[in-house]
């Protein structure tokens, strides 16, 4: 197994597509190892400040038991690290959340499985240093000093931390959030109310949800309702089976309907016959 390991004298190696493989293993006694694949971050279309092109290292295949801190420890020999962003899939940065305040209780689900990371160094040279990492031995993730909890230990810890939640802390966070929210909503409605009922240059008056004369809401459902009501009104006026052609038409429709049904049934039967569904026993 793993013939690759024997092919390379040093455990780390380079891959034609520009990645460097860095071996990592869980603990000293582990017999096998995974590889982190690292490369400088280079995506043309992306030009945001959080992943500066020259200083960002793109890391693939991070084992599920390797937390952020551990990655920090592995890569810090290459230079000072500014930030680490762990994600499930490589891809553009998410939209910045409207809530800047980091929430303790309302965190979105943390990523799971094998992860990717964008590591931003303080200096551009660190990226090249990281790409040159060629350890003789696989890097150990869970050391004596900084053991990583896995398995039962981890689950017990997870359960305990989830259970030991302070109700008042949660309440405080909710209150703070709601205050901010209410303020935002108030501002918004004030902005809308300002425009309400004021004719613009051509004399059009804007009607809003909270205005004095509430109008039909502009939703899809409301549109459909209006169309439906119109159709019904029209249908009521129409006379059915009044003219001879209508009679003829309805008869034709009836026969067509029967034919269609017949064809459907025929197809069904043919299929069932093929599947030998008519063999009763």
């Amino acid at each position: 197994m793993a013939p690759t390991r024997k092919q390379h004298a040093s455990l780390g190696f380079e891959i034609p597509s520009g990645f460097t493989a860095i071996p990592v293993k869980f603990q000293l006694t582990s017999k096998s190892h995974h590889y982190l694949y690292v490369k400088e971050h280079r995506v043309r279309s992306e030009n945001n400040t959080k992943r500066p092109l020259d200083r960002t290292l793109f890391v693939l295949n991070i084992p599920p038991y390797c937390p952020e801190e551990c990655l920090y420890r592995i890569l810090s020999p290459c230079g000072l690290i500014q930030s680490i962003e762990l994600k499930e899939k490589p891809g553009p940065e998410e939209e910045p959340e409207p809530e800047p305040a980091p929430s303790k209780h309302f965190r979105t689900q943390s990523s799971k499985g094998f992860l990717v990371a964008y590591v931003v160094f303080k200096k551009a040279s660190s990226v090249t240093a990281a790409k040159k990492l060629r350890p003789k031995e696989a890097i150990v993730l869970s050391t004596e000093k900084q053991p990583i909890k896995t398995g039962l230990q981890r689950w017990v810890a997870q359960y305990s931390s989830a259970s030991l939640l302070q109700a008042d802390e949660l309440q405080a966070e909710v209150d703070a959030f709601m205050q901010a929210h209410d303020k935002r909503v108030a501002e918004e409605s004030a902005r809308l109310a300002e425009g309400d009922g004021v004719p613009d240059g051509e004399g059009w008056v804007k009607v809003t949800r909270g205005g004095r004369r509430p109008a039909l809401p502009r939703t899809e459902a409301a549109n459909l309702r209006a169309v439906e009501a119109e159709r019904r009104r029209r249908a009521k006026k129409e006379l059915l089976n009044f003219y001879t052609w209508q009679h003829r038409e309805s008869k034709r429709e009836h026969i067509a309907e029967l034919r269609k049904k017949f064809e459907e049934d025929k197809q069904r039967i043919a299929m069932m016959r093929e599947q030998r569904k008519f063999k009763p026993y």
């Binding site: 017990v156 949660l170 093929e274």
Partner: protein
């Protein structure tokens, strides 16, 4: 013992784990089911196998007709056909179905030719039977070696003389000349008229029967010398041992295609029919008992069955000509009878002693024709319908019918027939009762089936054709409880005990036939209202080679009985009898023997009564067993040990608690009571800013379908880390994993109000605030321990933990809201909204409807639990959601056709397996009509929608009233492959179970079907039982039991702290594994105490792939020149299995070398 699965099927299933919905199953080659003649015991299974797979393009597609085709002017012929369809059949589909069915069962021209030539050959051979010299009947030394007389000659000595001679005539009789002969049992009857060896007084003391049997022996010997036949065997005509038949089959590969049956009969009119009046005696007691001189003072009892058997032989030909006359100019006759025969056969009514034979069906059609209830223009469907209608409404046990036209005072009256027989249907001659051997309870079964079938035909929502004509109804799947008498020889003692000498004489010593009617009426009396139907299996006719002795009565196999329970009364523990001083009291005491006792009732009356033991619902369901065993012991001398009762063998695996006296119904009720109380408290809370509008359960335990319902738990504090400030218990690492306490989910809808924010984040926060507030109020007002969290509130009540989740009905809409560029608000589904809808709308709806279903059908819960247990035991519960299994179980109760709704978990489970196996998942949506809310037109709509978008719908499609188009519960799985595997497993389990349940001689280990075959998996991760919290629930109860910090229910212990809730390391481990290695492998585990996680590599993940940043998870890069390819880093992955599950994993066992790339 493990079940052997078809390795091939599994591998195919595994090979294509990716979602390529269409073609996976097509590569299974169509099994050519070559032998047309043999149905055989494997019949139903074989059929279902065929259904399980399909041909290359076996998917229905919507029909597209061009406008021209649709609107072209109709031809006369077309109009006629369309019109005829409307008047003669239900629908055009039914018409075509019937036509196809008839094509399947009618004989091919080729086969008819074979038969004709065979008949000719036999006829000419018979003409050359050599004559023998005249000998005494009791001197049978002339019988050649190699042939044995096919009759039990008891007593042996009979007066009369016999010799062999060529027959007077050989004629075709029965179904073949009539054209009603149908596959698969192609029997051609030949009537061989005996030559002048009979004496006019031969009607007496079985003399005729002896001569008949000897003549048959002679014929058999003669035919055996010709080598023209595949086999020569004897059998009894419909199990009547006085009427042996000779069976001939052609040689070569045609052997199984047809059976020639030789009947020997006296010349027409040889005996005077009036000798066989049902009140006359033709078997003398003295002769029967072997006494020398007749006792003078004894009046001889009538022997109607004996008389009937002689007459039936004599009238074979006249019956045939009568039927031929009826069938002339009536095409529907032939087809109608063929369809009725299919109907009878599916219900196992068509053969055996006292069966409803095809001959009887023909006679009945002829009767209805003569009574103008059927006319000769009718189609097969109408004939079937009219016959069923007639059977459903006419009770032949009370008011018999006769084919005699006009009145003839010399013939026996109907009332005389009624005195002698249980079921009366008199033939055209007026002397024979065609239903002579049928028991009243068999007729009632026929009647019950007919009534049920009529209901199905009349229900536009059902596919009557499939349910009634294509679905087999074996005893074990039809009846709620069954029991066997494996040793029928015990009935001999029963006859003695019940003093049935005259019946024994009448049945010529056949004690089974003699005792059966009496046992049935005894049990019927004892069970009374508890059963809707009590039926027995028909003693089958054995077949034996001509050189062996005829089988004795005791060798005819076991006798089985079936009970359809009446759930309203079947579980009553008290049987209230007549008042102590009334006349019936004596009778009551006689029936029940020592079990009868006097009781004073609440209304002050003192009555006779019987009290049966039954504490739990499980025990109460088995009260019929107590009754039957008691009555059989008391009145028929049949010891309890020889009655094998099959009513609750499977219930073993869902039993809860140590004592094993309950299958968990009581625990469920307790949970629901506690929940009801909680919901009342939530409703009435003071001090909430908004009122509660509804409280709905959303957990299987709240619809009675949790496999192991939660039991109140009292924690042992020394076992946990006690966190005083939070009033919580936490698990300790060193100890065994604490007992699993499920969180019972409850959805609490809050009133809508303008104060709710219109933003999803804000709603989440407000809900969290509600959880806190609810917790505070419940604590203050009801002293309940609560623990709030952002997403829910845990409430510890009565030893159970409820997880209350606040919901706001507008949240769904808000989640779906998107704004178009024009500024119009649109609603679009997204994952988050769907998940919320599932949780707050669908699941509560399902829970409350199924809770309602349980109130109507008390065994629904247990059935669903057995089903889930089975799915879990086969490690597949991750792919088949609990809700979908519940729905499958519910469909058995809502659409039981052709059965009645199950009244025992056992039969429910068997039908669940059968549903999985036989349903055409590919081409049919399973419509579960909860509350009957779906109308017939909606059903058509669902079908059409389904066909139109089949490829985008889940492999298993279940429609409910609230979910007609999406099948929300099966969206996530099972995939086509898993479904296929489920079907294979279900077919095998069903086969194993049914053989075990119907045959008491088989090893009785029902748990066999719950032990999964593990040979297909690549890696097995063995877990440390210490850390598996549900270890004690394992199918095979483990010997080692770990203490898990729960005090016995009676012990005094604090309940001031929240126990460890919903903490299951196995589940945590599985989810981590799936998160990490989803792309590489599938993980399977039994959630109920399984200590093995089975891993299956995905083959396509193991093919080397080019290096792509999105696909390098847990993969190893191999550099070849300038190309980089990746393969899974198996060695590291296997080590990861151990790392991720540190403390839980005991061993990772690699079983196959398939991963070596």
């Amino acid at each position: 013992m493990k079940m052997k699965m078809k390795r091939k099927v599994q591998e195919t299933a595994v090979m294509e784990m990716e979602k390529e919905n269409e073609e996976e199953l097509s590569d299974l080659s169509e099994e050519e089911d070559g032998d047309e003649g043999g149905g055989g015991p494997g019949g139903p299974l074989k059929r279902s196998r065929v259904q399980g797979k399909s041909l290359g393009d076996g998917v229905l597609k919507p029909v597209k007709l061009t406008k021209q085709e649709l609107y072209k002017p109709p031809t006369n012929e077309e109009l006629n056909r369309l019109q005829e369809t409307e008047s003669l059949f239900h629908s055009s589909l039914l018409r075509m179905q019937m036509e196809e069915l008839l094509k399947e069962v009618t004989l091919s021209e080729r086969r008819r030719k074979t038969i004709d030539s065979l008949v000719q050959e036999v006829t000419s051979l018979l003409a050359s039977v050599p004559e023998t010299t005249d000998t005494e009947l009791s001197d049978q030394s002339w019988v050649p070696r190699g042939v044995k007389v096919p009759l039990l000659q008891v007593p042996y000595s009979v007066k009369g003389r016999f010799r062999m001679a060529p027959p007077l005539s050989v004629k075709l009789v029965g179904s073949y000349p009539l054209g009603t002969c149908s596959k698969p049992d192609v029997n051609v009857d030949l009537a061989v008229t005996m030559p002048a060896v009979l004496h006019p007084k031969d009607y007496l003391n079985q003399r005729y029967h002896r001569k008949r049997a000897l003549y048959l022996t002679g014929l058999a010997h003669h035919l055996s010398s010709s080598h023209a036949f595949g086999s020569l065997r004897f059998t009894y005509h419909h199990g009547n041992h006085l009427r042996p038949l000779l069976l001939l089959t052609p040689q070569g590969k045609e052997e199984r295609s047809v059976t020639l049956r030789l009947h020997v009969c006296p010349p027409a009119g040889f005996f005077k029919p009036s000798r066989f009046h049902p009140r006359k005696n033709n078997v003398r007691t003295a002769w029967f008992l072997g006494q020398e001189t007749p006792q003078q003072d004894i009046s001889e009892p009538p022997t109607p069955h004996y008389n009937n058997s002689v007459l039936s032989d004599m009238l074979l030909e006249s019956h045939k000509s009568f039927l031929s006359a009826s069938a002339a100019d009536f095409p529907g006759f032939r087809e109608g009878v063929a369809v009725i025969k299919v109907w009878l056969r599916q219900r196992e009514l068509h053969q055996g002693y006292g069966c409803f034979s095809g001959f009887l069906a023909s006679m009945l059609v002829a009767y209805l024709l003569s009574k103008h209830k059927i006319n000769s223009m009718m189609s097969a469907y109408q004939v079937l319908r009219n016959v069923l209608q007639f059977l459903a409404t006419t009770d032949l046990t009370e008011s018999g019918i006769t084919l005699v036209k006009g009145t003839d005072s010399t013939l026996p009256a109907l009332s005389e027939f009624h005195d002698a027989f249980q079921v009366v249907f008199v033939d055209p001659s007026g002397h024979v009762n065609l239903c002579g051997d049928m028991t009243a309870s068999k007729y009632r079964q026929v009647q019950h089936e007919a009534r049920l079938s009529m209901q199905v035909w009349d229900n536009p929502k059902l596919d009557g054709f499939h349910a009634l004509l294509m679905t087999p109804k074996p005893l074990v799947r039809t009846f709620d409880h069954i029991f066997h008498l494996p040793a029928v020889v015990k009935l001999q003692a029963a006859c003695k005990k019940m003093e049935l000498l005259s019946e024994l004489m009448d049945h010529a010593g056949n004690y089974v036939a003699a005792a059966l009617p009496f046992i049935m009426s005894l049990l019927q009396r004892g069970l009374g209202d508890r059963v809707r139907l009590l039926a027995h299996s028909l003693p089958q006719s054995p077949e034996w080679t001509i050189d062996s002795e005829p089988p004795k009565h005791k060798d005819k196999g076991l006798l089985s009985f079936g009970l359809l329970l009446n759930p309203e009364f079947s579980t009553n523990t008290l049987e209230r009898g007549p008042p102590a001083d009334s006349a019936q009291a004596l009778e009551f005491r006689k029936l029940w023997g020592e079990r009868a006792e006097l009781r004073r009732f609440q209304d002050g009356s003192i009555c006779e009564a019987v009290v049966w033991q039954g504490g739990s619902a499980f025990q109460k369901r088995l009260i019929p067993e107590q009754i039957i065993k008691h009555l059989l012991q008391l009145h028929a001398n049949i010891p309890e040990s020889s009655v094998r009762y099959v009513g609750a063998l499977l219930d073993e695996v869902i039993k809860v608690g140590r004592e094993g006296g309950s299958t968990g119904e009581e625990a469920s009720v307790q949970v629901i009571q506690s929940y009801d109380d909680l919901s009342r408290k939530l409703w009435n809370l003071d001090g909430l800013p908004l009122t509660v509008t509804s409280v709905q359960g959303a957990h299987p335990a709240l619809r009675y379908t949790q496999v192991f319902p939660p039991v109140p738990m009292k924690p042992d504090y020394s076992f946990f880390r006690v966190e005083k400030s939070h009033r919580s218990l936490l698990p300790l690492e060193g100890k065994p994993c604490p007992a699993y306490v499920p969180a019972i989910k409850v959805i609490c809808h809050m009133e809508g109000s303008g104060k709710w924010p219109q933003d999803r984040e804000a709603i989440r926060h407000i809900k969290a605030a509600f959880h806190i507030r609810l917790g505070e109020l419940l604590g203050q007002q009801h002293r309940l321990i609560c623990r709030p969290a952002p997403t829910h509130l845990d409430v510890y009540k009565d030893g159970l933990v409820f997880r209350v989740q606040v919901a706001y009905h507008r949240e769904l809409q808000i989640l779906r809201e998107t704004m178009t560029p024009e500024g119009m608000v649109r609603y679009r589904d997204n994952e988050e909204a769907l998940r919320l809808e599932l949780e707050t709308v669908h699941r509560p709806y399902l829970t409350s409807t199924l809770h309602g279903l349980q109130q109507q059908h008390s065994v629904f819960g247990a059935t669903a639990r057995l089903a889930k247990r089975w799915v879990g035991a086969h490690l597949l519960s991750a792919s088949l959601s609990e809700e979908s299994v519940d729905l499958l179980a519910a469909s058995l109760f809502l659409q039981p056709a052709p059965h009645t709704a199950p009244s025992s978990p056992q039969v429910g489970f068997l039908r669940f397996l059968h549903l999985l196996v036989s349903f055409d998942w590919r081409n049919d949506p399973l419509i579960v009509n909860l509350n009957g809310d779906i109308t017939a037109t909606e059903i058509t709509e669902i079908r059409n929608d389904f066909i139109a978008s089949r490829s985008s719908l889940p492999a298993m499609f279940i429609a409910t009233p609230k979910d007609k188009k999406n099948s929300v519960w099966t969206k996530e799985g099972p995939s086509v492959q898993i479904l296929q595997r489920l079907i294979v497993l279900a077919a095998e389990s069903l086969r194993v179970l049914e053989t075990q349940l119907t045959d008491p001689t088989q090893p009785q280990d029902v748990k066999m079907v719950l032990r999964p075959p593990l040979d297909i998996y690549d890696v097995l991760i063995h877990l440390n039982p210490k850390q598996v919290p549900l270890h004690a629930q394992a199918v095979d109860t483990p010997r080692i039991v770990f203490s898990r910090g729960a005090l016995p229910s009676g012990a005094a212990g604090g309940s001031g702290n929240m126990p460890v809730v919903d903490f299951n390391p196995v589940a945590c481990y599985l989810s981590e594994l799936r998160d990490a290695f989803e792309e590489l492998a599938l993980f399977f585990c039994d959630p109920f105490g399984g200590t093995v996680i089975a891993v299956l590599w995905k083959p396509q993940a193991f093919a080397p792939q080019p290096f792509r940043t999105a696909h390098v998870k847990a993969r190893l890069v191999q550099v070849k020149g300038s190309e980089a390819q990746t393969v899974p880093n198996v060695e590291a992955i296997l080590e990861d299995f151990e790392t991720l599950g540190a403390g839980l994993v005991r061993e990772v066992e690699v079983r196959s070398e398939r991963w070596t790339v």
